[in-house]
């Protein structure tokens, strides 16, 4: 399957197979007007299978979201059909307004204007907890 290469935009590569759609929605790419391609289960010599997202626009993306979904993903910034920059992704210490706390006892369940903040509490196990009620993200 061929997807045209992009002239100016962003390629998020080496996404663990199956996480592409989650990343697509959490990055809010569904609200973009430009072309966005999601390639699922692309063959990869290192990973076996991987997902790739290509965004045909020089829009900005939230690298914290990428780091949260898959810190092993790579981000390539393309300008004039050339690789202009390769971004390093890391798991963010704090995630703000990316996901919502689902604990019905959390203060964020009744105070809608509060920012939804999650903190990385275990880097090895990749555990984020709500900053208010400490509920773990499932």
């Amino acid at each position: 399957m061929n997807i045209d290469s992009i002239k100016n935009g962003i390629v998020i590569d080496h996404i663990a197979a199956g996480l592409g759609m989650k990343l697509y929605f959490l990055l809010g790419l569904d609200s973009l007007d430009c072309s966005v391609a999601i390639i699922k289960n692309a063959p990869s010599s290192k990973m076996g299978k991987k997902d790739i997202i290509k965004i045909d626009s020089c829009t900005s993306v939230n690298f914290d979201v990428i780091g949260y979904v898959d810190p092993h993903a790579t981000v390539n910034i393309i300008k004039d059909s050339k690789l202009a920059e390769k971004k390093t992704i890391a798991m963010p210490e704090t995630l703000t307004n990316v996901i919502k706390c689902k604990n019905p006892r959390c203060i964020t369940s009744v105070e809608q204007e509060l920012p939804h903040i999650f903190k990385l509490t275990d880097r090895q196990e990749k555990i984020y907890r709500c900053a208010y009620c400490e509920t773990k993200i499932n």
């Binding site: 604990n103 019905p104 006892r105 959390c106 203060i107 964020t108 369940s109 009744v110 105070e111 204007e113 509060l114 275990d122 907890r129 709500c130 900053a131 208010y132 009620c133 400490e134 509920t135 773990k136």
Partner: protein, 305 residues
Amino acid sequence: MKNVINIMDLSVDEIEQLIHCADDIIDNPVKYQDACRHKILATLFFEPSTRTRLSFESAMLSLGGNVLGFSEASSSSASKGESVADTISVVSGYADIIAMRHPKEGAPLVASMHSAVPIINAGDGGHYHPTQTLTDLLTIHHEKGHFDNLTIGLCGDLKFGRTVHSLIGAMSRYPGVKFVLISPEELKLPSFVKQEYIKPRGIEYRQSTSLEDVIGDLDILYMTRVQKERFFNEEDYLRLKDSYILTEDKMKLARNDMCILHPLPRVNEISVAIDSDPRACYFRQAHYGRYVRMALIMKLLGVKV
């Protein structure tokens, strides 16, 4: 400015200082009777409470200070939809220190982000209740004389029991402590409490569904109530509420120097026949709460006597 949202906000040294101060207050109450003169404590209780609110108010009045506040959300602006942040922004201009109880977890943390004065968490849902833990610690200190090498049994609702989680956190910092976790399957201690406090420190613990099987091994038995307000489903509450009832027969299996603690209120989980047993410490425990809260208020206000 320091807030106390979680017992772990206080170091072992700070807890020792508070206990030392509370001891001195017990021995010399007159020395402290004007320690907080002209200071105001606001007790903001968005959820009903008798003991904790009265204990805070008694503590501040015993220090010569004043108290204002409300005892349920319906008598505050929260009933009109005011946010915690707005309430605190206003009240912190009226008081020097705030003790706050709220049914939602994390509400006191939100308060601390918007307050110009120290915030004490007086209980946030099933989350934390640090001054109850200070009360428990002062009781253990008085009844046992030390914190190390104790075997502590925690019985009842270990899932939603915030006092249990906080006590485990606080006691896990002392050497040689062991925990025995006694609960029905549905109310077992959440794994995050074990992950955070018990496992990283390599603390010995075991779980049991039978109080009779383990009561003879305990130095402390911390009983808890199965709290109706923590359940969304009344059927589950009714099924579990009578899981463990401490009776005279069970007490015959316990050591002569075992201490029974309970954060109160009790419903029926401790038979009233046990109240006269010298091992029943729960009413003394409630009284200690006043002294340790006096020590905490003084510490957070920076008052020295």
